[in-house]
Protein backbone atom coordinates (compact mmCIF):
# COMPACT_ATOMS: atom_id res chain seq x y z
CA UNK A 1 0.00 0.00 0.00
CA UNK A 2 1.96 2.98 -1.18
CA UNK A 3 1.26 6.65 -0.85
CA UNK A 4 -2.13 7.03 -2.45
CA UNK A 5 -3.19 9.79 -0.14
CA UNK A 6 -0.83 12.73 -0.50
CA UNK A 7 -2.28 14.84 2.26
CA UNK A 8 -3.16 12.28 4.87
CA UNK A 9 -0.75 9.81 6.32
CA UNK A 10 -1.11 6.61 4.34
CA UNK A 11 -3.96 4.82 5.98
CA UNK A 12 -3.69 1.19 6.72
CA UNK A 13 -7.40 1.10 7.00
CA UNK A 14 -8.97 2.87 4.13
CA UNK A 15 -7.68 5.17 1.49
CA UNK A 16 -9.84 7.74 -0.22
CA UNK A 17 -9.74 5.51 -3.26
CA UNK A 18 -11.42 2.61 -1.56
CA UNK A 19 -13.90 4.93 0.10
CA UNK A 20 -14.89 6.18 -3.30
CA UNK A 21 -15.09 2.65 -4.57
CA UNK A 22 -17.56 1.61 -1.91
CA UNK A 23 -19.56 4.75 -2.30
CA UNK A 24 -19.78 4.12 -6.00
CA UNK A 25 -20.78 0.51 -5.44
CA UNK A 26 -23.48 1.62 -3.07
CA UNK A 27 -24.67 4.24 -5.52
CA UNK A 28 -24.78 1.84 -8.44
CA UNK A 29 -26.63 -0.83 -6.49
CA UNK A 30 -29.94 -1.75 -8.04
CA UNK A 31 -32.80 -4.09 -7.30
CA UNK A 32 -35.20 -5.74 -9.71
CA UNK A 33 -38.82 -4.66 -9.44
CA UNK A 34 -41.86 -6.09 -11.11
CA UNK A 35 -44.75 -3.69 -11.16
CA UNK A 36 -48.15 -4.96 -11.99
CA UNK A 37 -51.39 -3.02 -11.97
CA UNK A 38 -53.98 -4.57 -9.68
CA UNK A 39 -56.04 -6.53 -12.11
CA UNK A 40 -59.33 -5.38 -10.66
CA UNK A 41 -58.31 -1.82 -11.33
CA UNK A 42 -57.14 -2.12 -14.88
CA UNK A 43 -59.39 0.17 -16.86
CA UNK A 44 -61.57 -1.32 -19.52
CA UNK A 45 -59.93 -1.88 -22.89
CA UNK A 46 -56.52 -2.23 -21.37
CA UNK A 47 -54.09 -4.51 -23.00
CA UNK A 48 -53.99 -7.29 -20.50
CA UNK A 49 -51.01 -9.48 -20.64
CA UNK A 50 -48.75 -6.49 -20.92
CA UNK A 51 -49.53 -4.87 -17.65
CA UNK A 52 -46.31 -5.95 -15.96
CA UNK A 53 -43.45 -3.53 -16.01
CA UNK A 54 -39.94 -4.43 -14.98
CA UNK A 55 -37.45 -1.94 -13.64
CA UNK A 56 -33.93 -2.38 -12.39
CA UNK A 57 -34.28 0.40 -9.86
CA UNK A 58 -31.48 2.24 -8.10
CA UNK A 59 -31.31 1.44 -4.40
CA UNK A 60 -30.85 5.09 -3.57
CA UNK A 61 -33.93 6.20 -5.47
CA UNK A 62 -37.53 6.48 -4.34
CA UNK A 63 -40.85 5.18 -5.61
CA UNK A 64 -42.25 8.63 -6.52
CA UNK A 65 -39.30 9.06 -8.87
CA UNK A 66 -40.32 5.92 -10.75
CA UNK A 67 -43.89 7.04 -11.23
CA UNK A 68 -43.34 9.14 -14.38
CA UNK A 69 -41.68 6.23 -16.14
CA UNK A 70 -44.43 3.80 -15.14
CA UNK A 71 -47.07 6.27 -16.17
CA UNK A 72 -45.50 6.65 -19.61
CA UNK A 73 -45.43 2.90 -20.04
CA UNK A 74 -49.04 2.48 -19.02
CA UNK A 75 -50.16 5.29 -21.29
CA UNK A 76 -48.23 4.04 -24.26
CA UNK A 77 -48.68 0.33 -23.98
CA UNK A 78 -51.44 -0.72 -21.68
CA UNK A 79 -54.21 1.79 -21.32
CA UNK A 80 -56.42 3.03 -24.06
CA UNK A 81 -56.65 6.73 -24.63
CA UNK A 82 -59.54 7.39 -22.33
CA UNK A 83 -57.87 5.64 -19.46
CA UNK A 84 -54.56 7.34 -20.13
CA UNK A 85 -56.24 10.72 -19.87
CA UNK A 86 -57.75 9.77 -16.58
CA UNK A 87 -54.54 8.78 -14.84
CA UNK A 88 -54.20 10.39 -11.45
CA UNK A 89 -50.82 9.45 -10.18
CA UNK A 90 -51.38 11.28 -6.93
CA UNK A 91 -53.76 8.47 -6.02
CA UNK A 92 -51.31 5.73 -6.84
CA UNK A 93 -49.91 3.45 -4.22
CA UNK A 94 -47.94 0.22 -4.09
CA UNK A 95 -48.54 -2.93 -2.15
CA UNK A 96 -46.70 -6.21 -1.76
CA UNK A 97 -48.22 -9.54 -2.58
CA UNK A 98 -49.01 -10.12 1.04
CA UNK A 99 -50.65 -6.82 1.62
CA UNK A 100 -47.85 -4.69 3.03
CA UNK A 101 -48.05 -1.11 1.83
CA UNK A 102 -44.79 0.26 0.47
CA UNK A 103 -43.72 3.62 1.79
CA UNK A 104 -42.97 6.57 -0.42
CA UNK A 105 -40.33 8.05 1.74
CA UNK A 106 -38.17 4.95 2.13
CA UNK A 107 -35.30 4.45 -0.33
CA UNK A 108 -36.00 1.61 -2.71
CA UNK A 109 -33.02 -0.37 -1.46
CA UNK A 110 -34.46 -0.27 2.03
CA UNK A 111 -37.88 -1.33 0.79
CA UNK A 112 -36.29 -4.29 -0.95
CA UNK A 113 -34.11 -5.41 1.96
CA UNK A 114 -36.92 -4.94 4.42
CA UNK A 115 -39.09 -7.17 2.29
CA UNK A 116 -36.32 -9.74 2.15
CA UNK A 117 -36.03 -9.97 5.90
CA UNK A 118 -39.77 -10.05 6.38
CA UNK A 119 -39.86 -13.03 4.05
CA UNK A 120 -37.15 -14.67 6.11
CA UNK A 121 -39.64 -15.16 8.90
CA UNK A 122 -42.30 -16.74 6.75
CA UNK A 123 -42.29 -20.50 7.05
CA UNK A 124 -42.67 -21.38 3.43
CA UNK A 125 -40.30 -19.21 1.56
CA UNK A 126 -37.98 -21.18 -0.53
CA UNK A 127 -39.37 -20.34 -3.91
CA UNK A 128 -37.90 -17.49 -5.95
CA UNK A 129 -35.04 -16.78 -3.61
CA UNK A 130 -34.03 -13.67 -5.40
CA UNK A 131 -36.59 -12.82 -8.01
CA UNK A 132 -37.83 -9.34 -8.63
CA UNK A 133 -39.74 -7.71 -5.84
CA UNK A 134 -43.32 -7.76 -6.94
CA UNK A 135 -45.23 -4.57 -6.43
CA UNK A 136 -48.92 -4.28 -7.03
CA UNK A 137 -49.81 -0.85 -8.27
CA UNK A 138 -53.14 0.50 -7.18
CA UNK A 139 -54.54 3.44 -9.03
CA UNK A 140 -56.91 4.81 -6.44
CA UNK A 141 -57.88 5.07 -2.79
CA UNK A 142 -54.54 5.09 -1.03
CA UNK A 143 -54.81 3.74 2.52
CA UNK A 144 -54.32 6.83 4.58
CA UNK A 145 -53.73 4.86 7.76
CA UNK A 146 -50.55 3.43 6.48
CA UNK A 147 -49.16 5.96 4.09
CA UNK A 148 -48.07 9.51 4.47
CA UNK A 149 -50.23 11.92 2.58
CA UNK A 150 -48.86 13.56 -0.55
CA UNK A 151 -46.91 10.99 -2.46
CA UNK A 152 -45.37 13.46 -4.86
CA UNK A 153 -41.79 14.19 -5.66
CA UNK A 154 -41.70 17.40 -3.62
CA UNK A 155 -42.85 15.70 -0.45
CA UNK A 156 -40.31 12.99 -1.09
CA UNK A 157 -37.57 15.55 -1.53
CA UNK A 158 -38.44 17.17 1.74
CA UNK A 159 -38.45 13.82 3.51
CA UNK A 160 -35.05 13.10 1.98
CA UNK A 161 -33.61 16.44 3.06
CA UNK A 162 -35.06 15.89 6.51
CA UNK A 163 -33.25 12.58 6.80
CA UNK A 164 -30.00 14.16 5.64
CA UNK A 165 -30.31 16.88 8.25
CA UNK A 166 -31.08 14.36 10.95
CA UNK A 167 -28.04 12.37 9.96
CA UNK A 168 -25.97 15.55 10.13
CA UNK A 169 -27.36 16.28 13.56
CA UNK A 170 -26.63 12.79 14.82
CA UNK A 171 -23.03 12.98 13.65
CA UNK A 172 -22.12 16.42 14.91
CA UNK A 173 -24.85 17.66 17.24
CA UNK A 174 -25.84 20.37 14.81
CA UNK A 175 -26.92 20.68 11.21
CA UNK A 176 -24.42 23.33 10.20
CA UNK A 177 -22.84 21.29 7.47
CA UNK A 178 -26.07 20.83 5.58
CA UNK A 179 -27.56 24.23 6.29
CA UNK A 180 -24.20 25.78 5.43
CA UNK A 181 -24.61 24.59 1.89
CA UNK A 182 -26.02 27.03 -0.60
CA UNK A 183 -29.58 26.34 -1.69
CA UNK A 184 -28.40 25.35 -5.13
CA UNK A 185 -26.08 22.80 -3.59
CA UNK A 186 -28.79 21.37 -1.35
CA UNK A 187 -31.04 21.05 -4.36
CA UNK A 188 -28.13 19.49 -6.20
CA UNK A 189 -28.23 16.52 -3.83
CA UNK A 190 -31.79 15.70 -4.78
CA UNK A 191 -31.11 16.42 -8.43
CA UNK A 192 -28.28 13.93 -8.24
CA UNK A 193 -30.72 11.33 -7.02
CA UNK A 194 -33.34 12.18 -9.62
CA UNK A 195 -30.84 12.07 -12.43
CA UNK A 196 -29.00 9.22 -10.77
CA UNK A 197 -25.76 11.04 -11.24
CA UNK A 198 -22.99 9.95 -8.85
CA UNK A 199 -20.74 12.90 -9.52
CA UNK A 200 -23.45 15.47 -9.14
CA UNK A 201 -24.58 13.98 -5.84
CA UNK A 202 -21.10 13.47 -4.39
CA UNK A 203 -19.85 16.85 -5.49
CA UNK A 204 -22.03 18.19 -2.70
CA UNK A 205 -22.23 15.18 -0.42
CA UNK A 206 -18.47 15.00 -0.03
CA UNK A 207 -18.66 18.28 1.83
CA UNK A 208 -20.93 16.89 4.47
CA UNK A 209 -20.25 13.17 4.71
CA UNK A 210 -17.55 12.02 7.12
CA UNK A 211 -14.31 11.01 5.50
CA UNK A 212 -12.52 7.87 6.39
CA UNK A 213 -9.38 8.81 8.14
CA UNK A 214 -6.95 6.63 10.02
CA UNK A 215 -8.50 5.26 13.16
CA UNK A 216 -6.60 5.70 16.35
CA UNK A 217 -4.47 2.68 17.28
CA UNK A 218 -5.52 -0.82 16.62
CA UNK A 219 -7.29 -0.79 13.29
CA UNK A 220 -6.76 -3.99 11.31
CA UNK A 221 -5.24 -3.83 7.84
CA UNK A 222 -7.70 -3.63 4.99
CA UNK A 223 -9.01 -6.95 3.65
CA UNK A 224 -7.97 -6.15 0.11
CA UNK A 225 -5.86 -3.49 -1.37
CA UNK A 226 -7.39 -1.44 -4.05
CA UNK A 227 -5.04 -0.22 -6.68
CA UNK A 228 -7.01 2.49 -8.28
CA UNK A 229 -5.58 5.63 -9.65
CA UNK A 230 -5.09 8.25 -7.01
CA UNK A 231 -8.05 10.36 -6.20
CA UNK A 232 -7.65 13.49 -4.20
CA UNK A 233 -9.17 13.29 -0.76
CA UNK A 234 -12.63 14.82 -0.46
CA UNK A 235 -12.70 18.52 0.05
CA UNK A 236 -13.46 19.44 3.63
CA UNK A 237 -14.16 23.12 3.82
CA UNK A 238 -14.61 23.00 7.55
CA UNK A 239 -11.53 21.10 8.40
CA UNK A 240 -8.79 23.71 8.60
CA UNK A 241 -6.23 21.18 7.57
CA UNK A 242 -6.80 18.95 10.58
CA UNK A 243 -7.36 15.61 8.92
CA UNK A 244 -9.57 14.18 11.62
CA UNK A 245 -11.92 17.10 12.04
CA UNK A 246 -14.54 15.72 9.72
CA UNK A 247 -13.38 12.20 10.06
CA UNK A 248 -15.65 9.24 10.45
CA UNK A 249 -14.20 8.52 13.88
CA UNK A 250 -14.82 12.01 15.15
CA UNK A 251 -18.57 11.86 14.91
CA UNK A 252 -20.60 11.64 18.09
CA UNK A 253 -22.71 8.92 16.67
CA UNK A 254 -23.23 7.17 13.35
CA UNK A 255 -26.74 7.47 11.89
CA UNK A 256 -27.96 3.89 12.00
CA UNK A 257 -31.34 2.24 12.08
CA UNK A 258 -32.12 -1.42 12.56
CA UNK A 259 -35.09 -2.90 10.77
CA UNK A 260 -36.67 -6.05 12.06
CA UNK A 261 -39.05 -8.31 10.12
CA UNK A 262 -42.61 -7.03 10.13
CA UNK A 263 -41.86 -4.03 11.80
CA UNK A 264 -40.18 -2.27 14.51
CA UNK A 265 -37.45 0.15 13.64
CA UNK A 266 -34.77 0.65 16.23
CA UNK A 267 -32.59 3.65 16.56
CA UNK A 268 -30.01 4.39 19.20
CA UNK A 269 -26.74 6.20 19.64
CA UNK A 270 -23.87 4.51 17.86
CA UNK A 271 -20.57 5.99 18.91
CA UNK A 272 -17.67 5.18 16.62
CA UNK A 273 -15.51 4.24 19.58
CA UNK A 274 -16.70 2.50 22.67
CA UNK A 275 -16.03 3.61 26.19
CA UNK A 276 -13.03 1.36 26.54
CA UNK A 277 -11.50 2.94 23.46
CA UNK A 278 -12.09 0.00 21.18
CA UNK A 279 -13.69 0.46 17.83
CA UNK A 280 -17.40 -0.11 17.61
CA UNK A 281 -17.99 -2.90 15.15
CA UNK A 282 -21.16 -4.32 13.71
CA UNK A 283 -20.93 -7.39 15.85
CA UNK A 284 -20.49 -5.36 19.05
CA UNK A 285 -23.41 -3.19 18.04
CA UNK A 286 -25.72 -6.08 17.26
CA UNK A 287 -24.67 -8.06 20.34
CA UNK A 288 -25.61 -5.09 22.47
CA UNK A 289 -28.92 -4.24 20.89
CA UNK A 290 -30.20 -7.63 19.85
CA UNK A 291 -28.54 -9.96 22.31
CA UNK A 292 -31.02 -12.74 21.78
CA UNK A 293 -30.45 -12.84 18.04
CA UNK A 294 -26.73 -12.23 18.22
CA UNK A 295 -25.55 -13.89 21.41
CA UNK A 296 -22.01 -13.03 22.29
CA UNK A 297 -20.80 -16.54 22.79
CA UNK A 298 -22.80 -18.63 20.38
CA UNK A 299 -23.62 -18.74 16.71
CA UNK A 300 -26.02 -16.03 15.66
CA UNK A 301 -29.65 -16.70 14.91
CA UNK A 302 -29.91 -13.85 12.47
CA UNK A 303 -28.04 -12.06 9.74
CA UNK A 304 -27.56 -8.40 8.92
CA UNK A 305 -28.10 -6.94 5.46
CA UNK A 306 -26.66 -3.58 4.59
CA UNK A 307 -27.25 -2.34 1.05
CA UNK A 308 -28.39 -5.83 0.25
CA UNK A 309 -25.10 -7.38 1.25
CA UNK A 310 -24.38 -9.69 4.16
CA UNK A 311 -22.31 -7.39 6.28
CA UNK A 312 -19.24 -8.87 7.96
CA UNK A 313 -19.40 -8.69 11.73
CA UNK A 314 -16.02 -7.02 11.98
CA UNK A 315 -17.15 -4.06 9.88
CA UNK A 316 -16.56 -0.86 11.82
CA UNK A 317 -19.63 1.27 12.40
CA UNK A 318 -17.78 4.46 11.56
CA UNK A 319 -16.59 2.99 8.27
CA UNK A 320 -20.12 1.88 7.44
CA UNK A 321 -21.32 5.40 8.09
CA UNK A 322 -18.77 6.84 5.72
CA UNK A 323 -18.83 4.31 2.92
CA UNK A 324 -21.98 2.24 2.94
CA UNK A 325 -24.66 4.65 4.04
CA UNK A 326 -27.60 5.40 1.82
CA UNK A 327 -27.86 8.64 -0.07
CA UNK A 328 -29.86 10.06 2.83
CA UNK A 329 -26.92 9.50 5.16
CA UNK A 330 -28.35 6.55 7.04
CA UNK A 331 -26.93 3.08 7.50
CA UNK A 332 -29.99 0.87 7.35
CA UNK A 333 -29.37 -2.55 8.82
CA UNK A 334 -32.02 -5.10 7.98
CA UNK A 335 -31.96 -8.09 10.27
CA UNK A 336 -33.39 -11.36 9.04
CA UNK A 337 -33.59 -14.82 10.50
CA UNK A 338 -31.24 -17.60 9.60
CA UNK A 339 -32.81 -20.87 8.65
CA UNK A 340 -30.63 -23.85 9.37
CA UNK A 341 -27.76 -21.47 9.54
CA UNK A 342 -28.34 -20.11 6.07
CA UNK A 343 -29.74 -16.72 5.24
CA UNK A 344 -32.70 -17.07 2.95
CA UNK A 345 -32.72 -14.42 0.31
Amino acid sequence: MSTYAPRHAPSAFSTPASTTLFRRLTWEGTVPLEIRVASAELPANSDRGLECYYIQAARVSYLPLLVPEIKRFLSDVVFDEAAAQGIKEEDWWFESEDGAVFRWHWPIGLIYDNHTITMSTRPNTSAAPSGPLRLILHLASPPSEKLLLSPGSEACKQAFMGQLKEADFIRWGNTKRITGLRKAEQDGLWEGIKEHNFDEYWRVASKVTPTTSPARSQSPPPPSSVSMHTRPPSADPGSNGAPDRDGAYSVRSVPVRIYLPDGPVMQDLVPPLLEDGSINTLSRFLDTHLPLLFPADRAPLAYALIQGVLAPPEAEMAWLGACLAGADGWVNICVGLLREGIPRF
Binding site: S144, E145, L148, T175
Partner: protein
Amino acid sequence: MARSVLLPHTLSGEKATDEQESQDEWEVVEENDENDASAAAPDVVASQQHVVFSPTFQVPAFYFTAHSASGAPLPLSEIVKLPLLRQHILAGTHSSGFALTAQESTFPLLSQGDHPVLGTPSWYLHPCHTAEAVTELLSESRTDGGSEEERLSRWIQTWFVILGQVVNLHSGTMAQ
Protein backbone atom coordinates in the same frame (compact mmCIF):
# COMPACT_ATOMS: atom_id res chain seq x y z
CA MET B 1 -47.56 8.90 26.79
CA ALA B 2 -50.70 8.78 24.71
CA ARG B 3 -54.18 10.06 24.78
CA SER B 4 -57.24 10.49 22.60
CA VAL B 5 -58.91 13.81 22.27
CA LEU B 6 -62.05 14.89 20.50
CA LEU B 7 -61.69 18.30 18.99
CA PRO B 8 -64.51 20.52 17.85
CA HIS B 9 -64.15 21.54 14.29
CA THR B 10 -66.52 22.92 11.79
CA LEU B 11 -66.42 21.43 8.37
CA SER B 12 -69.19 22.42 6.10
CA GLY B 13 -72.25 20.31 5.98
CA GLU B 14 -71.19 17.41 8.14
CA LYS B 15 -72.99 16.07 11.09
CA ALA B 16 -71.37 15.38 14.38
CA THR B 17 -70.93 11.79 15.35
CA ASP B 18 -69.68 10.18 18.45
CA GLU B 19 -66.86 8.01 17.34
CA GLN B 20 -64.64 7.42 20.25
CA GLU B 21 -61.34 5.66 20.12
CA SER B 22 -60.65 3.39 22.96
CA GLN B 23 -57.39 4.08 24.58
CA ASP B 24 -56.81 3.80 28.26
CA GLU B 25 -57.67 7.41 28.82
CA TRP B 26 -60.15 9.67 30.46
CA GLU B 27 -63.69 10.20 29.32
CA VAL B 28 -65.09 13.66 29.16
CA VAL B 29 -67.69 14.46 26.61
CA GLU B 30 -68.37 18.08 26.28
CA GLU B 31 -70.61 19.39 23.59
CA ASN B 32 -69.26 22.07 21.41
CA ASP B 33 -72.11 24.42 21.91
CA GLU B 34 -70.84 27.30 19.90
CA ASN B 35 -73.63 29.60 18.70
CA ASP B 36 -74.17 28.43 15.15
CA ALA B 37 -77.80 27.98 14.62
CA SER B 38 -77.10 26.96 11.07
CA ALA B 39 -77.77 23.55 9.68
CA ALA B 40 -74.15 22.43 9.78
CA ALA B 41 -73.61 20.88 13.15
CA PRO B 42 -70.02 21.10 14.33
CA ASP B 43 -68.02 18.09 13.43
CA VAL B 44 -65.86 16.17 15.76
CA VAL B 45 -62.28 15.38 14.97
CA ALA B 46 -60.57 12.54 16.74
CA SER B 47 -56.98 13.21 17.58
CA GLN B 48 -54.52 10.70 18.94
CA GLN B 49 -51.69 12.43 20.69
CA HIS B 50 -48.42 10.98 21.78
CA VAL B 51 -45.30 12.11 23.46
CA VAL B 52 -42.48 10.03 22.12
CA PHE B 53 -38.77 10.13 22.68
CA SER B 54 -36.91 11.17 19.56
CA PRO B 55 -33.81 9.02 19.25
CA THR B 56 -32.19 11.45 16.87
CA PHE B 57 -32.59 14.56 18.98
CA GLN B 58 -32.67 12.74 22.31
CA VAL B 59 -35.64 14.75 23.54
CA PRO B 60 -39.38 14.12 23.70
CA ALA B 61 -41.42 15.02 20.65
CA PHE B 62 -45.13 15.57 20.19
CA TYR B 63 -46.82 13.37 17.62
CA PHE B 64 -50.48 13.45 16.69
CA THR B 65 -53.01 12.28 14.16
CA ALA B 66 -56.31 13.91 13.30
CA HIS B 67 -59.19 12.15 11.64
CA SER B 68 -62.62 13.41 10.76
CA ALA B 69 -65.72 11.61 11.86
CA SER B 70 -65.74 9.66 8.62
CA GLY B 71 -62.32 8.29 9.40
CA ALA B 72 -60.42 10.25 6.80
CA PRO B 73 -57.22 11.91 7.90
CA LEU B 74 -57.37 15.67 7.85
CA PRO B 75 -55.29 17.48 5.30
CA LEU B 76 -52.87 20.10 6.54
CA SER B 77 -55.18 22.92 5.50
CA GLU B 78 -57.78 21.68 7.98
CA ILE B 79 -55.33 20.79 10.70
CA VAL B 80 -54.14 24.35 10.98
CA LYS B 81 -57.72 25.42 11.69
CA LEU B 82 -58.08 23.09 14.63
CA PRO B 83 -57.98 24.63 18.08
CA LEU B 84 -55.04 22.35 18.73
CA LEU B 85 -52.35 24.57 17.30
CA ARG B 86 -51.89 28.04 18.67
CA GLN B 87 -52.53 30.62 16.03
CA HIS B 88 -49.57 32.84 16.80
CA ILE B 89 -47.26 30.01 15.90
CA LEU B 90 -48.85 29.65 12.53
CA ALA B 91 -48.26 33.25 11.55
CA GLY B 92 -45.17 33.48 9.43
CA THR B 93 -45.21 29.89 8.43
CA HIS B 94 -45.62 28.63 4.94
CA SER B 95 -47.55 25.51 4.05
CA SER B 96 -46.53 23.18 1.31
CA GLY B 97 -49.46 20.88 1.75
CA PHE B 98 -47.36 18.30 3.48
CA ALA B 99 -45.46 20.47 5.95
CA LEU B 100 -45.55 23.80 7.70
CA THR B 101 -42.25 25.65 7.71
CA ALA B 102 -41.23 28.90 9.30
CA GLN B 103 -39.00 31.17 7.30
CA GLU B 104 -35.33 30.44 7.55
CA SER B 105 -35.93 27.33 9.52
CA THR B 106 -33.85 24.23 8.98
CA PHE B 107 -36.61 21.84 9.78
CA PRO B 108 -40.33 22.23 9.18
CA LEU B 109 -42.28 23.19 12.26
CA LEU B 110 -44.90 20.58 11.53
CA SER B 111 -44.52 17.68 9.17
CA GLN B 112 -45.30 14.03 8.72
CA GLY B 113 -43.19 11.10 9.60
CA ASP B 114 -43.31 7.52 10.79
CA HIS B 115 -44.32 7.31 14.40
CA PRO B 116 -41.16 6.03 16.11
CA VAL B 117 -42.98 3.29 17.95
CA LEU B 118 -46.10 2.53 15.95
CA GLY B 119 -44.54 3.03 12.56
CA THR B 120 -47.74 4.58 11.22
CA PRO B 121 -47.89 8.00 9.59
CA SER B 122 -48.27 10.82 12.02
CA TRP B 123 -47.87 14.58 12.20
CA TYR B 124 -45.19 15.81 14.52
CA LEU B 125 -43.74 19.02 15.83
CA HIS B 126 -40.07 19.10 15.16
CA PRO B 127 -38.14 18.60 18.38
CA CYS B 128 -34.82 20.09 17.36
CA HIS B 129 -35.01 23.32 19.31
CA THR B 130 -36.75 21.87 22.30
CA ALA B 131 -33.66 20.97 24.26
CA GLU B 132 -32.27 24.49 24.02
CA ALA B 133 -35.57 26.03 25.01
CA VAL B 134 -35.94 23.78 28.02
CA THR B 135 -32.40 24.37 29.17
CA GLU B 136 -32.85 28.09 28.85
CA LEU B 137 -36.08 28.09 30.82
CA LEU B 138 -34.64 25.85 33.49
CA SER B 139 -31.62 28.02 33.95
CA GLU B 140 -33.85 30.98 34.54
CA SER B 141 -35.92 29.27 37.15
CA ARG B 142 -32.95 28.74 39.39
CA THR B 143 -34.06 25.54 40.97
CA ASP B 144 -31.09 23.27 41.18
CA GLY B 145 -30.28 20.15 43.01
CA GLY B 146 -32.69 17.59 44.20
CA SER B 147 -32.63 14.00 43.23
CA GLU B 148 -32.29 12.78 39.68
CA GLU B 149 -35.98 12.07 39.67
CA GLU B 150 -36.82 15.59 40.74
CA ARG B 151 -34.48 16.98 38.14
CA LEU B 152 -36.04 14.91 35.39
CA SER B 153 -39.50 15.76 36.58
CA ARG B 154 -38.71 19.46 36.35
CA TRP B 155 -37.27 18.89 32.92
CA ILE B 156 -40.40 17.25 31.56
CA GLN B 157 -42.67 19.79 33.21
CA THR B 158 -40.69 22.54 31.56
CA TRP B 159 -40.94 20.65 28.32
CA PHE B 160 -44.71 20.68 28.62
CA VAL B 161 -44.65 24.39 29.23
CA ILE B 162 -42.69 24.88 26.03
CA LEU B 163 -45.02 22.54 24.20
CA GLY B 164 -47.96 24.50 25.54
CA GLN B 165 -46.66 27.54 23.67
CA VAL B 166 -47.28 25.79 20.43
CA VAL B 167 -50.07 23.36 21.21
CA ASN B 168 -53.18 24.08 23.15
CA LEU B 169 -53.13 21.03 25.34
CA HIS B 170 -56.49 21.84 26.83
CA SER B 171 -58.37 22.02 23.59
CA GLY B 172 -61.07 19.51 23.01
CA THR B 173 -62.26 16.80 25.28
CA MET B 174 -60.78 13.52 26.20
CA ALA B 175 -62.20 10.38 24.77
CA GLN B 176 -62.46 7.06 26.51
